[in-house]
């Protein structure tokens, strides 16, 4: 887990240079693809065909692009939260558990309110989108995830419990809690007594997030895809969190504690409170990821009982997206889209070439290693730049003194 801390450090310190220096990242990506080709060749697959299948699968068609964005949405939510936590010096590995907590709470609210509000005496139009149900479900999901993340923050702040360990263990608890509830009180009544697939009842239409389409062409772009409004919510929140972190006193305090706890406490900032707050927000965003998956895509909470059965490992992949985005919520937007494309494209590659599914995990890992290594390169370059600037200034002053 030290590796994660190291990555954070790298990503944090290169925030500024990243914007200016993009070429090393591109080169790193290409290098990762070259090395991945070796893996493909070892599996006697043609790398060119593999990559074009991947590209095709990720953005080749309208539907492929939509699927990429659908996959990117939970990554972005989680990535925003991870960004806040890491900026606050907290290493949140609990995205999975927080997603589940959010999904459980949000789904329950949506189911209960759905039953109440669309009962015949309340509404005639059974299918209408109900802003109140959706908003309350999202808030409930956020709060549940936030409390689950905040618990790890509380344990860290007041009992010095390592947040990496506590969040990993809380992930396990959440998975088992979900399995228990989905086989018990949350089980779809229609399923009871039959094959007992752990899933809730389907949400009524009023509790669903609407599909998203763009008013381009006829029919509208993405009109016939699974793309939903969760993406817009995530992007809007990314912008809001960027402003929050770098333009408000609340965000300033989180970042101050993340960079230097001692200086922050010397300056009168309540360090313990900031630790809890950043984990609270991080958990909240993971919780949103969970509830949006249900409200926008699956319309029911279901799992196959395995740890990533519901989340699809978005709670972990979101960490990668956050680091890839330079621990900047705006940067997390393209980063999430990129990894979404990687995941979707990999499925196509797998279908077309019959490569094993684990290959994409390896390619993923290679890309992360190369990109993070390129950070070191960028850092050294910016360091040199600083020394050159200082020198120039010194000479300017000398000239002034002489003149």
């Amino acid at each position: 887990m030290n590796k994660v801390a190291g990555l954070t450090q790298l990503a944090i310190s290169s925030r500024f240079s990243r914007l200016i220096d993009f070429s090393p990242v591109v080169i790193a990506l290409l290098l990762a693809l070259v090395v991945s080709s070796v893996l493909l060749l070892a599996l006697s697959a043609d790398p060119i065909a593999a990559y074009s299948a991947m590209l095709e699968g990720a953005i080749g068609t309208e539907n492929a692009t939509a699927e990429t964005l659908v996959k990117a949405t939970p990554l972005l939510f989680v990535g925003i939260g991870i960004t806040i936590a890491f900026r606050g010096g907290m290493i949140n590995i609990g995205g999975e558990g927080q997603m589940i907590a959010g999904a459980l709470a949000g789904t329950t609210i949506a189911l209960v309110l759905g039953d109440l509000r669309i009962a015949p005496e309340f509404a005639k139009e059974k299918g209408a989108f109900d802003l109140i149900i959706v908003t309350l479900s999202l808030i409930g999901g956020f709060l549940a995830g936030a409390l689950y993340g905040g618990l790890a923050g509380f344990l860290k702040a007041y009992f010095d419990v390592n947040e990496i360990l506590s969040t990993i263990m809380l992930n396990q608890i959440a998975v088992q809690m979900m399995n228990f509830l989905l086989n018990g009180i949350l089980l779809d009544p229609a399923e009871a007594g039959f094959n007992n697939i752990p899933k809730t009842a389907r949400l009524v239409t009023a509790a669903q997030l609407p599909r998203l389409s763009l008013p381009i062409g006829d029919p509208f772009l993405f009109a016939r895809t699974r793309l939903h409004w969760g993406l817009i919510i995530a992007i809007a929140l990314a912008v809001i969190i960027y402003i929050f972190l770098w333009r408000t006193s609340l965000g300033y305090r989180i970042r101050a504690v993340g960079e230097n706890q001692r200086a922050a406490s010397f300056a009168g900032i309540n360090v313990k409170r900031q630790m809890m707050f950043s984990m609270f927000l991080a958990g909240g965003f993971a919780g949103l990821a969970g509830v949006v998956q249900v409200l926008g895509l699956q319309y029911r909470l279901q799992t196959d009982g395995s740890p990533a059965g519901f989340t699809g490992a978005a709670g972990f992949n979101g960490i990668v997206a956050a680091l890839f985005g330079g621990l900047n919520p705006i940067g997390a937007i393209p980063a999430a889209a990129f990894f979404g494309g990687l995941l979707v494209g990999a499925q196509k590659m797998q279908r077309e070439l019959g490569t094993p599914a684990s290959l994409i995990t390896a390619v993923n890992g290679l890309i992360v290693v190369f990109v993070v290594s390129s950070e070191i390169f960028i850092q050294q370059r910016s360091k040199r730049r600083v020394s050159v600037a200082e020198q120039a200034e010194d000479e300017e002053e000398k000239a002034k003194d002489d003149g």
């Binding site: 408000t248 609340l250 960079e259 230097n260 200086a263 922050a264 010397f266 300056a267 020394s387 200082e390």
Partner: protein, 516 residues
């Protein structure tokens, strides 16, 4: 000369010359045609501000860098030093500012580290220990070879470093700011050792930016500035003002004309304050002190006698176990730092890089470390108004002569002196009634030190009560109106700073003779 210790059969160093040494780093000319020489039996001081090129020059002599031009001659013979192993082969040893010792290993193990055993694969630590004892007797470097490093005091660790260099046969020793980490007593001990080594025929290069040390210990002094050699003169012809001017490039004030203190009401009262140290021992023991507006009270003492605890207790960073702290009439015993900020207490922490600034934040962001939520810098206490913050910061940069490319530069790329000026600017911008300044000029170059001192005097004349904690007696004597001496967590003496007897201060600092 103990030439029997040299591992190889080459001649000991009688004369070492570096001529026309040039070293370029990307965009920086770190050494510009520098000439330097040192003879056996001589202590040659290399003096200059931070970044003047002292360390760069000596790292080239030790093989850590390679000169772009110029020659190194040992006993008249041109020599190329490719790496530190080469340097050691030639009898050159370097004592780094940060010790290169493994804390968990013993003294003998550290010295044996990286050397071939005389018994092949089996360790010969007993042989090493014996030789270490011999060597330490010759040079009066008292160290037990069987002690692990982590149990040794800093001064002892430095002796191990010196012993290791001598063990490897160093005839020329480079000491990079060796006193930076030592207490005054340890400095005296080190100087005795250096004199003895010189008497014994070793050549010594003493890198420093402290004038009085250079004047005390060296035979010759070479001053560097901005990568160039300013001059080399015999120390007997040097004076403090002369050296300071050579270092900075302009005359420097070393003593200040102080206005007589115009004392006002009491602003800081400590009565019977006690606290634990970090190790759980008694850190502060029943300390009482009264500061009035318009005076500077200096706290003198050997490091680790409760000065840090004193500052932290006042600044709300350490819990007091007894007693009372009153600032401007309000009882602030064990108050939170935020409450103390609000009441007008400012604190310049000793470890400014760790406690005073956030290195990854910009200059502007650091400038509002306390006031980032203040109404004048925010809308609704939430949205920070960076235009206003930058404007205020720019004014401070100008007023305090902080050298920075912009307000958006990350603080980690500023020099130590400029960071300290930034901390000072921030703390004074809050118009404090009481200012705690802990080691305000440690590691700061002369030019910035002069500036910081004058600022502190200006604040005093404005009516601020200033508690100046420093291990530099010269600084305390130059600025203080009264001097309190701390020893083992207590204030063992408080004297007016007129005709103060330095001998008496020194005696108090080491626990001898108390005055009421």
């Amino acid at each position: 000369m103990s030439s029997n210790l040299l591992p190889t059969g080459h001649e000991p160093i009688h004369q070492l010359d570096m001529t026309g040494i040039v070293k370029r780093f990307p965009g920086v000319l770190a050494a510009d045609r520098i000439d330097f020489d040192v003879k056996s039996g001589e202590i040659h001081a290399l003096l200059g501000e931070n970044g003047a090129g002292k360390s760069t020059l000596m790292k080239m002599l030790y093989g850590l860098y390679h000169p772009d031009a110029g020659a190194i001659r040992i006993n008249g013979e041109e020599t190329t030093i490719r790496n530190p192993q080469d340097a050691i082969q030639h009898g050159i040893g370097m004592i780094h500012q940060h010790f290169m010792l493994v804390p968990s290993l013993t003294v003998a193990e550290n010295i044996a580290l990286g050397m071939k055993s005389s018994r092949g694969l089996r360790l010969d630590l007993d042989v090493v220990s014996k030789r270490v004892v011999e060597l330490s007797e010759i040079y009066n470097l008292k160290v037990d070879p069987d002690y692990p490093i982590w149990q040794l005091a800093v001064g002892e660790q430095q002796r191990v470093e010196i012993l290791r260099a001598l063990y490897k046969g160093a005839a020329l020793l480079i000491l990079d700011e060796p006193t930076a980490v030592l207490t005054p007593q340890e400095v005296d001990g080190l100087f005795n050792i250096l004199n003895q080594l010189a008497d014994d025929g070793h050549a010594l290069v003493f890198i420093s930016h402290k004038l009085h040390e250079v004047l005390e210990i060296s035979h010759r002094v070479t001053v560097l500035r901005d990568g160039r050699r300013v001059n080399s003169i015999p120390t007997s012809e040097a004076t403090r003002p002369k050296l300071a001017e050579m270092m900075v490039g302009r005359p420097v004030l070393l003593e200040y004309d102080k206005n007589p203190a115009e004392v006002k009401d009491e602003r800081l009262i400590l009565s019977g304050v006690s606290a634990f140290s970090n190790r759980g021992t008694v850190g502060l023991d029943n300390v009482s002190l009264r500061l009035r507006g318009g005076e500077i009270v200096g706290v003198a003492g050997v490091s680790g006698n409760g000065q840090q605890e004193l500052a932290q207790c006042i600044a709300g960073l350490r819990e007091t176990t007894a007693g009372q702290v009153i600032v401007d009439g309000s009882d602030v015993t064990n108050a939170q730092p935020s409450a103390l900020n609000a009441i007008g207490l400012s604190y310049i922490p000793e470890e400014r890089m760790i406690d005073g600034v956030i290195k990854e934040f910009t200059v502007a962001e650091n400038y509002v470390l306390q006031d980032h939520g203040h109404p004048k810098f925010t809308r609704g206490k939430i949205f920070m108004l960076f235009n206003k913050i930058r404007d205020a910061c720019r004014q401070a940069i100008e007023a305090f002569e902080i050298k920075t490319p912009s307000t958006e530069t990350l603080v980690k790329s500023l020099s130590g002196g400029n960071i300290q000026k930034l901390v000072l600017a921030r703390e004074l911008s809050r118009d404090p009634g009481v200012l705690i300044a802990a080691q305000p000029t440690r590691g700061v170059d002369i030019g910035a030190t002069e500036y910081i001192h004058q600022r502190l005097l200006y604040e005093r004349d404005k009516g601020t009560a200033i508690l100046l904690i420093s291990e530099d007696l010269d600084e305390i004597r130059a600025l203080s109106d009264r001097i309190a001496v701390m020893y083992e967590g207590q204030i063992v003496g408080e004297v007016e700073n007129v005709d103060v007897d330095v001998e008496q201060l020194g005696l108090l600092m080491t626990g001898g003779g108390r005055v009421a």
